[in-house]
Symmetry: C2
Subunit: 310 residues, 2 copies
Amino acid sequence: MTTEQRPSPDALLIVGSMAFDDLDLPSGAARDVVGGSATYAAVAASLYAPARIVAVVGEDFPADTLTMLGSRGVDCEGVERAQGKTFRWAGRYAANLASRETLDTQLNVFADFRPKLPEHYRDSKIVLLGNIHPTLQLEVLAQTRSPKLVVADTMNFWISGERKTLLQMLSKVDALVVNDEELRQLAEDHNLKRAARTVLGMGPKLLIVKRGDAGAMLFDGDGTFFAPAYPLESEMDPTGAGDTFAGAILGFLSRAPRIDHAAWRQALLVGATVASFCVEGVGNSALVELTHAKLAARLRELHGLLTVDA
Amino acid sequence: MTTEQRPSPDALLIVGSMAFDDLDLPSGAARDVVGGSATYAAVAASLYAPARIVAVVGEDFPADTLTMLGSRGVDCEGVERAQGKTFRWAGRYAANLASRETLDTQLNVFADFRPKLPEHYRDSKIVLLGNIHPTLQLEVLAQTRSPKLVVADTMNFWISGERKTLLQMLSKVDALVVNDEELRQLAEDHNLKRAARTVLGMGPKLLIVKRGDAGAMLFDGDGTFFAPAYPLESEMDPTGAGDTFAGAILGFLSRAPRIDHAAWRQALLVGATVASFCVEGVGNSALVELTHAKLAARLRELHGLLTVDA
């Protein structure tokens, strides 16, 4: 649970978006919130290990954020600053935060993004292909030399619109992280267990299914694991929780002595715990304040939820 | 896990409905399916301990069902056969079985039902107040002498229409079993954890929240436990799964040496497992065929879903 778990973590590469989000939350509107899958994942991963980001930002992206990431040991050399505006997403959440609708998406500098890995990124051992166009995910993967673990995220937009490229990408990754609706859509089957088997036949040896406040499931060839969500009383903003979950999992695994069944299961609980803090603040505000002491205490509580002989 | 767990189980009293269900299922229509909360709960409980039923049926109710219950050790002396037709419910399930709508409800003999406990029922130590009018639940409770555990179920209809009587009933029970939507409605709060605290303030010392294929949660003063649903590939009919869950829990607890935290947690896993079999057949067809060997094997699988150091 501490960063002393292993003297030298495996280098972790994260590709994804860095963005401004305009959020209509039950607690009110929040504008120009720094977000993006790579930002959330890197902040989460940096609780365990320094990560390297590949992403693009516009001229309007705050230097403060890059400074914050740097202070957490995140390598931002692969963050390209392009002419124009940063990627922007606007969404509105339901009163119970259980669903949201996209109000607006402005690709801006993301439209022409071709990820280019700095030379020292290429030997990264663990790679998180955050939710971006599967072609870009493949381009990142092609620039790596010999990663030992590649995990991909994706979304409904690519599943429906870029299925062929997505399947090509899936054939090259070790694990996929999706939510239950994305899984059903990808497998074209409403039954989660059957859908999981179908997706495991597409390439990934391991599948993580996010189910919001109903927790997450891990499917592999040998079995299934269930990680409950930490029951929160003070949800503020679920934006980035899934990216936080994935980033924390890979940060944890980059420190694990062995990436075996037990490590994956523990990683899911860590991911669920770190994600629960993310949801307690708008944007990454609660996440960046998270200490190892608070994380360890909540992780113990989550373990308690799974303990039969209490 | 076996009926040898304890030489003499606590007597378990179940009050609820016995019914005919007309089901529109994705697999087709099924008419005159024997159902009702008491039927499902008693079949499930009888895996562990003989139960006693208080209910009413009409002249059209099949003697076969009472014979089947009797052969499982269920005491049906408290099942009143009244003039007229048995209670009937008709419902239609969505293609993914995740939701259903009521098409028709015919109370029939249930309209004038006043539960009357046979004398030897009055000393029952464990009481399951199945989902019926809270006034009837109170009448049953008033006829018992000194139960050591009283568990109630209810539904949205009573929460909205009979709130005052329901609250009176809640003040007299040890535990409540509801689904997540009923909990939210009862507490008037969309947040499950806060809602749970509110409901625990209404009387019950313990609250079990059913969340369908997302599992079940146990809330008490000291903590929370999460029981995942067994991931099925062959769901047929969720009718009665909640009653099966409750019946199996109380059957298991009636055999438990002590009804403590660990027993409740184990009971939830047992309930989830037995309920998973219920869903695999139309009506109680799969449930009545369930053997202890099959139950034990699936229960081990469910434990595996919770095991971190696999």
